[in-house]
Symmetry: C2
Subunit: 383 residues, 2 copies
C-alpha cells in the first residue's frame, strides 16, 4: 500500500443554506479544496452523503458532482454509512489511491437537510437505525441515544449536568470557527435550562443539523513537496450490531474500540500520542462513550475528562477543537469530512485561538447510526 | 496492486419476494456465496444498493447486513451509483483487496423494489436522473431512454422491430436460468404487439424490476488453488454528464467508451478477445449503444449485430447469456452483481444450454442513470 497525503482542504459554513442547491454546496467545498491544493483536476471523486435521495430526490451523487465540478469522464461514486458517510467516503478514496489504481482523489462530504420540515428530517435520520426492529416500534434516533444516556447515568452515577462541560467546550471552540453553525457561548445555567428533546437529552446535549460540505484532496505521499506534509497514518473501520438492543453492552462502543485499536496499531501510536481528537459528539453521551472506547478514559469515566477540563484545546485530550458536532454542526453525511478537514487545520497550525500547541498527530472518529459503523483516521504532520 | 480472484458466487431468483425482507434477500445471496467459496468468514463487506432508504426506510446497509450475515465487528459499507451500484460496490471491494488493506471481501448487490406501488417506484427510479434539470420538468427515467431511442431510429434509419432480436435473445436465454424473473419465450409478433410504455419503448424493450440479490467473494489471486481460477483482469469506471441534454452527442455512451478502453488496456485484450459480454440492456436501445461504444459495432450499427443473430450464445458476440436485464430482471442496485456472477458461471462452464463454448474471457458492463456512470469489468479464466 502506498502512503497517502492530504494536499488540499475546503469547507462551507454550516447553516440553513436555502439560497444554495445541493450541487452548489458540494461544489463550493470541492472548489475550495482544489484551490487550496493548487490543482484543477483530479483522477477520481468520492462523495459521502446520507440523505440526498430522500431530501433532494437525487441519487448517483458521484456523477452528479463530477458533472458539476467539471470532472467529466473521471471515476465518481457515492458511499453511504449513515452519519459515518463522510469518513467512509474518505476511506474508499484512500484505498483507491493506496492501491495504485488512481493517483489523485477528491473526497466531498455533503448534506442538504434544511429544505424539509423537522418531522420529515426526524424520519429521514431514523433510516440510520434498524427499520424493522427499532423504528417500526416508534423510536426516533434521538430516542435511542436518550435510552443509552439514561442507562449510563444510572450505571455510573452521573447527573445530567455532569455532561455540560462537553457542550460548553464545543460552543467555546466554535466561537473561533467561521464555518461553525452556532456562534454562541454557553454556560452551565444555559445548559441546564434548555428545552428537553428526549429525556435526558436536551437541546444542549444534541447537535444541530444543517446544510454543508467539506472536502479534501489526497495523493500518494511521495509526490508531495508542500510543507507541512499531512499524511494519513491510519484508517480503520469496524461495525457493531445495527440495533442497540442487540448489544451485550449498549454502553460500550465496540466498533470504536476495534477501529481505534486497529488505527493505533497501524500508526504505531497510543492514545497518549494523540494531540487532538475530533470525536463524534452527535449527543453528549456519545462524546463520553467515544473517549472510553478509544482508550482515553476508563469505562464510565469519560465524563470525568470533561469535568476536569482536560478536553479544551489547552488540555491533554483536546476534543471538538473547532466546535464538534454540537456547535460546528452536524450535516450528517458531511460531518466525517469536516472532522478530517479540522484535523488538517490543526496539524497545519491554522486554528488561531483554539490551536493545540505543537499538534503533530490528530485523530478523527466518525460514527454511523447509534455506534453501528465507526471509522477512525489518524493523520500525522511530517516535518 | 495485488491481482484479485473470485472464489464464490451466489444469487437469488429475481421475483416479487413479498414473503422475504430486505435482510433475508441480501443474506440468502451472501450465504450462497460463502457456501460456494467454502468459507464462513470474510474480512470486509461491500453492499451495492440504490433504493433501500426510499423503499424500506433503511440506510446504512453495510452494517445492516454485516449484522444479519454474522460478520459482526468487520468493516462494512454501502456504495451507490444508481443502477450501477452493484458494479461500483464490486470495484470498491477490489480496491480494498488490491491495496492490501483487506484479505477477503464479500460483495452483495441487493434491491427490494416490489413493496411499493408502480408510480412510487417510477418516482424512486427518477432519482437516478437530474432532479433539478430533468425530473423537475416531468420526465421519467423511461421517458429519457425513449427520447434517446427515438433519436437513434431517426438518425440511423432503424425501425422499432429492428430492436426485437435483443429481447428475443434475452428471453430465450433466460429460459435456462432458474434465477431469471421471466421464463417466457417471445417472438417478433409478441415484441411488436406489446403495450407501449413511453413511445417508442414498449414492454418488450424495457426490463422488469424485481426483488433480488447477487453476491461474490474476492481474495488475492495468489492464495487461490480452486480451479478454474477466475481472476479480475480489469476494472474501470467512467462518467458522463448526469443529464442527457448536456451531452454533445446523446447517442454515444462516452462513459462506456472510456471505461471499456481502460479495461481493455488493463487486461491487454481487444473486443475480439471477449468471449461473452453481459451488457446493461435496461432498454433495448441501451444494448445497441453499449455494443457501439464498447467497440463491438460501428456507430448506429449495434442493432445490426442483433439482426444478424451474432449475439446468441453461439454467435461471435454473445450478450445477455443468462437473460440480461430484459428477462433475468433488473433489481437496480443488484444488477451489476448479477452480471459479475453470470460471467463467472460462464467462465466456469456452468451454463448448460446457454454456455458459450470455451469461454475464457468475459466482460460485464453496468450503467448508472442514462449512461451517466458506467463500470466495465473483465474476468479471465486461468487454466
Amino acid at each position: 500500500m502506498r502512503q497517502v497525503a492530504i494536499i488540499g482542504i475546503g469547507q462551507t459554513k454550516i447553516d440553513e443554506q436555502w439560497d444554495k442547491s445541493l450541487r452548489e454546496i458540494g461544489g463550493d467545498a470541492a472548489f475550495a479544496a482544489m484551490q487550496d491544493a493548487g490543482i484543477e483536476k483530479v483522477d477520481s471523486l468520492f462523495i459521502g452523503n446520507m440523505l440526498s435521495s430522500i431530501v433532494s430526490g437525487q441519487n448517483q451523487l458521484g456523477t452528479f458532482f463530477s458533472d458539476w465540478i467539471g470532472l467529466w469522464k473521471q471515476e465518481a461514486v457515492k458511499i453511504e454509512a449513515a452519519c459515518g458517510s463522510g469518513a467512509a467516503a474518505f476511506r474508499s478514496a484512500l484505498m483507491a489511491v493506496a492501491s495504485g489504481d488512481t493517483d489523485s482523489a477528491l473526497v466531498v462530504g455533503v448534506e442538504k437537510m434544511t429544505d424539509k420540515a423537522g418531522h420529515e428530517i426526524t424520519a429521514a435520520l431514523a433510516t440510520a437505525a434498524d427499520a424493522d426492529y427499532e423504528v417500526e416500534q416508534g423510536v426516533t434516533f434521538v430516542g435511542l441515544n436518550a435510552l443509552v444516556m439514561r442507562r449510563y447515568m444510572h450505571e455510573f452515577g452521573w447527573k445530567h449536568k455532569d455532561f455540560a462541560p462537553f457542550s460548553i467546550n464545543a460552543h467555546a471552540n466554535a466561537m473561533h470557527n467561521p464555518y461553525a453553525r452556532l456562534h454562541e457561548k454557553i454556560n452551565l445555567e444555559k445548559f441546564e435550562n434548555s428545552s428537553m428533546v428526549a429525556t435526558p437529552i436536551n437541546l444542549m446535549d444534541a447537535s444541530p443539523i444543517g446544510d454543508g460540505a467539506a472536502a479534501a484532496i489526497i495523493v500518494p505521499a511521495e509526490t508531495v513537496t508542500r510543507k507541512p506534509k499531512i499524511v494519513v497514518a491510519a484508517s480503520a473501520s469496524a461495525t457493531d450490531t445495527i440495533a442497540v438492543h442487540s448489544r451485550k453492552d449498549p454502553l460500550f462502543l465496540q466498533a470504536a474500540y476495534l477501529s481505534s485499536r486497529r488505527a493505533y496499531d497501524m500508526a504505531g501510536v497510543t492514545p497518549a500520542d494523540i494531540d487532538l481528537f475530533e470525536l463524534h459528539d452527535a449527543f453528549s453521551i456519545m462524546a463520553a462513550l467515544s473517549l472510553e472506547a478509544s482508550g482515553f478514559a476508563e469505562r464510565g469515566q469519560g465524563v470525568r475528562l470533561a469535568l476536569e477540563n482536560r478536553i479544551s484545546p489547552q488540555g491533554d485530550v483536546p476534543v471538538c477543537t473547532r466546535g464538534g458536532l454540537k456547535a460546528r454542526g452536524h450535516p450528517v453525511g458531511a460531518t466525517g469530512m469536516y472532522q478530517i478537514v479540522e484535523v488538517v487545520q490543526q496539524l497545519r497550525g491554522e486554528c488561531g485561538q483554539t490551536q493545540v500547541d505543537g499538534a503533530r498527530i490528530g485523530m478523527a472518529q466518525n460514527i454511523g447510526g447509534s455506534g453501528a459503523t465507526i471509522l477512525t483516521h489518524i493523520l500525522k504532520q511530517e516535518e
